[in-house]
Subunit: 176 residues, 4 copies
């Protein structure tokens, strides 16, 4: 029997955003998520999402179309809640607390648009030492003092994916 050790794990990037984007830029947001998923998958990245609709589905779609691996960390207890482009469904039963798992299971995080759930994931990602790339997403500024330069704004999907890949390869920072 050949040595079965898993030699190298590919970098994981979490793509986060709304499950049901609305408004004038909803279409663009979804196109961007799909493009980001494609570029990441072509670079050998495993795309992690929350496994549901909207940005999660579009990013997974792009990644699977490019032959990539996709993981969906679901809030509920039923794998069938995952969208059709999730290869590995991880039902957690945790509800909103699954947001922590989405970002902790990734080496870097890429936010596209997004509302409050996305904001919570950005905060949790930073708390867990992950770098966050934002694309048409939240701008964060502390009146008090910034906690460090780990939020990176991108202008388009290509730049966002490239930044997220580079930051994933560099890996998370140690946090206490």
């Amino acid at each position: 029997m050949s040595d079965p050790k898993v030699s190298v794990r590919p970098p994981h990037v979490a793509v986060i955003g709304e499950g049901d984007p609305r408004g004038p830029d909803a279409h663009r947001i979804l196109e961007w998520a799909e493009e980001v998923g494609q570029i990441l998958a072509r670079s050998g990245v495993t795309v992690v999402t929350g496994g549901l609709g909207g940005v999660m589905r579009a990013a997974s779609h792009g990644a699977v179309a490019a032959g990539g691996m996709t993981i969906g960390i679901l809030p509920g207890a039923d794998a069938s809640e995952a969208n059709d482009y999730v290869r590995q469904a991880i039902p957690t039963g945790l509800g909103v607390a699954r947001n922590l798992v989405v970002v902790t299971s990734a080496d870097s995080v890429l936010a596209i648009g997004g509302r409050h759930g996305t904001l919570s994931e950005i905060g949790l990602a930073l708390r867990m030492g992950r770098h966050v790339v934002t694309l048409a997403s939240w701008r964060l500024e502390s009146e008090h003092r910034l906690g460090g330069p780990r939020v990176h704004r991108a202008r388009d999907p290509r730049e966002a994916a490239a930044m997220a890949l580079r930051l994933a390869q560099a890996g998370p920072e140690q946090v206490s």
Copy 2:
């Protein structure tokens, strides 16, 4: 035996912020946290915190000094980690995921200063339908679109406490 039903539960406000504030305004941040705790307790509010040091300790100190009730939702498994001003210690064993419990156990949330943990709590609070009052804390702006007017900036501890009390009495919003 008299009817033992618990007739009215007092409003709960979570006061969140750094466990170890540093820099030029650290002293002011702690003074504000203590003052906020005092004002809230005098209004009959139960003050919820993460139970550790810094802002959590100062807010609990202020509340207990005013004769109020304080709850500390701890990340670890040991009640003795709570600061000296926590009346009800709730060790959770959840690590960072306890941040969700801190904000969900409150009717409104008041952030004073704060870094990444505080940002994650603000995001989780909004996700759970809680209103958030900020005092020298994060400014949040969405490039995409704002998720609603549930973040309220206060200028001083008195205003912050009054806003948090009013919003706690109004209660959380229903979120899906």
Copy 3:
């Protein structure tokens, strides 16, 4: 101002069991839970439960009737889900994962009857180093090897409450 430090925290005992006991011994189970709550409260113990119905409600009822403090660690996000005898409601938003918080927030655990949720809480309590007293509840035996003598069977509510109090005062064991 007098020194506001919280000098002594009372021992916490978690009383766990079914939210909706059925069958021929359901009535007895609920009577036992209420009696256990009363005895614990008279001894100065804070009674922690999952905050819902059945055994949780009966134990809280007994404790409040004896003038005691009761804490309810709720699975949902809404304090109004707590039964009428919970003094401090802690909505967690964690779903089933709140079971970990119920037992970790206690110094010892007392199981009365119970089904799968109770079994999960017994396992989690042992994992977190808590001693568990059982009353008409699960019998646990390892085919492999027992993990230690931290499960204690009681014959009646009086013995169960006395054992839980003594074990709570001794405190949890350190676990890795």
Copy 4:
């Protein structure tokens, strides 16, 4: 571009047990775990574990040696904690609460030996509607009343794997 939809997801079986088995039967336990992993992988099952040592490592080893997929749901925040036979590492940052994710992400659960952590996973699995196969593991009996016939004792690895596969294909039960 061919239709990228993920057509069929393979059944997931969680193999649970001690991270550091000791005593006279430790060697046998690890051999059984490895054999179970091999049989499951040959049947096309994805093997889920807690990603660490002992039974988790042995089951993953067996599965990977047979060319199978392995997922490791880690308690910490660092993918490098996973053993060498985990193909998909999911760091959760949840500590002991990750036990819920291990069993919820599986269609059925197979316990080999095990101590308190394993007992908590058995309880959580039953609570989440999963069937549990036990091999030299906990015997569970309720003094009150059994919650249903969802615990299945196997005599050897071959029988255990066959039962777990069949139960995974049947799928979890609906629980409230």
